[in-house]
Subunit: 251 residues, 2 copies
């Protein structure tokens, strides 16, 4: 499927769809919260690499000029005072004229390069959403916005961990290199089989847990910081852009 087709038709998680095109996390907040959110992303570039910020009220983004951010994600989350109140498939009834939307890089973008480098993707093999965890690492706060870093977990054969780190490290705009390899407890992750978002994914013998900073981090910040209103993507249900993955590859 093309990015346009995924935006028009997908109803579930977008991992593995429109291969070769970057996917993005969405977080839209009222304009009077936009500076704090933008500064939070600047101060936490590993979990929050910004690909685009819209003008207030506009559902348009340079990442896909024909797209409408209110309708073109498969599933949304609507937040009031930091609490999840709805999970609609169409955000139009909830959109406001003062919303500023942030599109944040997604680690799905480097999965094509990982696969081409021979790194197996267990969640794709198992037909699951990537597992995500709230960690014990606090992000650097910005004004009213604060919260813990969220990570995604990929089980990777021990002899391919260096390759995975190098390949993903070439894509700093989509989380870059891992933030942690090995013992999940070091990040405060008690049980890697019980993710906070996404699906549990089984390890193969010889696999090591590898953790990347995750674009769901702004959602954890919403829950901690409690702005009066926000709209985000539902975890794993990303905005598919028209931008080739390769645009975010450095060097």
């Amino acid at each position: 499927m093309t990015p346009e087709e995924v935006r028009a038709r997908a109803s579930g998680p977008t991992a593995g769809l429109a291969t070769g095109f970057a996917q993005a996390n969405l977080i839209a907040v009222p304009a009077d919260w936009a500076y704090d959110v933008l500064l939070f992303t600047q101060r936490n570039p590993k979990p929050c690499p910004v690909l685009d910020v819209t003008d207030a009220g506009s559902p348009r983004t340079v990442l896909a000029p024909g797209a409408d951010l209110r309708t073109d994600l498969p599933r949304y989350r609507v937040w009031r005072d930091g609490a999840l109140v709805e999970e609609p498939t169409d955000a139009t009834p909830f959109w406001r004229d003062d919303l500023v939307a942030f599109l944040i890089g997604c680690s799905f973008t480097f999965e094509g390069d990982l696969a081409r480098a021979g790194v197996p993707l267990r969640h794709v093999e198992q037909g699951r959403n990537v597992p995500m965890f709230v960690t014990n690492r606090e992000c650097r706060p910005a004004g009213r916005v604060h919260g813990p870093m969220v990570v995604s977990l990929r089980w990777i054969p021990e002899d391919l961990v260096d390759t995975a780190a190098r390949v993903s490290g070439r894509m700093p705009a989509v989380h870059g290199s891992p933030v942690h390899v090995g013992d999940p407890a070091a990040l405060g992750v008690a049980d890697p089989a019980a993710p906070d978002f996404g699906d549990p994914v089984a390890a193969e013998p010889g696999d090591v847990p590898v953790f990347w900073a995750c674009g769901v981090t702004p959602q954890a910040a919403l829950m901690a910081s409690r702005p009066p209103f926000a709209i985000t993507h539902a975890p794993g249900h990303m905005f598919v852009t028209d931008v080739p993955d390769s645009e975010y590859r450095v060097g």
Copy 2:
């Protein structure tokens, strides 16, 4: 000299000082302009790669915890309504409690890697500041902030241009790869011997002009956008950070 010594003592351009430590452009604006400036930098990452943003009123930055942004640059520019009104060596008398300071990556940071890769640096050889030019390329605007891209010029032997592009491309946080190679007129630069900022630098036989996006771009945006007040570094008179250049090398 160490970064701390340069911050305490330097009185002229900082190119070649505290080798191995990243230098930064400074632009400080009143808090009610900070969102537009931050969004402008996000939308124009090649000329405006942000390394840090301070809390309003604070002269402290994580890039050099012991430094004071009001005193530790060799020379400043003070702007009122888009016009340059002073060039003090101490910004303390001009600092305001509502100022938000942006520290923006500087191409000096990749010059160490260029030199190690065998690329000659003509401006350093000739003891001059790098030449900078206002181009005919408009940056993507953000709210009230708009303006042309400013570039720095380095004359580079033709057979080393690819090397220079590859080496600098590994440092996207300090402008990354060149934005243009060859004909200056394509950028609207009429005379490469007459820079808008910095010093003219002579080419050697076989040199090609190579242009990088430049952190003076926000100053051109100030001149075009006319915020009521701003403080910046004087071109070439950078803030020397405690961060090793290598921190900004990717892959």
